[in-house]
Symmetry: C2
Subunit: 134 residues, 2 copies
Amino acid sequence: MTVKRRDVVKAVTLGGAVAISGAASGAARPEAAKIVHHVFFWLKTPDSIADRDQLIAGLRALARIPVIRRLQIGVPASTEQRDVVDASFDVSELMVFDSVADQKIYQDHPVHHDFIAKCGHLWRKVVVYDMLTV
Amino acid sequence: MTVKRRDVVKAVTLGGAVAISGAASGAARPEAAKIVHHVFFWLKTPDSIADRDQLIAGLRALARIPVIRRLQIGVPASTEQRDVVDASFDVSELMVFDSVADQKIYQDHPVHHDFIAKCGHLWRKVVVYDMLTV
């Protein structure tokens, strides 16, 4: 059997990543691969603190969905402004799931649908990034 | 003294957020505010597994910088493709810091400069989002 170099490299990187990650960070217990789901919201009325707070409260309510392993909600940080930094968003939500299947359960969950029904009118733009940790 | 309603709402949301967050997620120990630093890379040669792996290895080496509280590295997940999902990036790095000051220490750290010197030729575009958790 001939194995392409490309496939070998890919396997080494993805398959061996957890152990390498654990060693690099000095962690005793390597973390299993996760789905990191990061959502950025731009409000229709960015100056409205009330709208921002309503969105944040709506996002907090998502914590009731059991498949969410971690939920962090944020606003732009006052880090140094550089060309590569996009600080134009108003609110952000970071979730961690154990698998793509769990992320799908979240997506279809009634509590998530309720959030969209109640808060969907607040934003003009949403960008979602889903990453698989390696 | 007159306090504007806007300021009160803001104070309640930001100041009381940690406790609310802890209650909502059922966590016994509320988490202090953190800086979440999420970086997305688009490679000059997106089809090059070797370039991707070199970038991932470079990012892993950043774990030696002590102010980094969490480091997760990823590639696009195979979640459902929707209009709002940006799955065009090649590699992503998520870091957590205790403060904006720690994020600045990371930014100026020799290990970070070394990473840029060794891997900066690999990407054509970088987007950074910094959020303060509330």
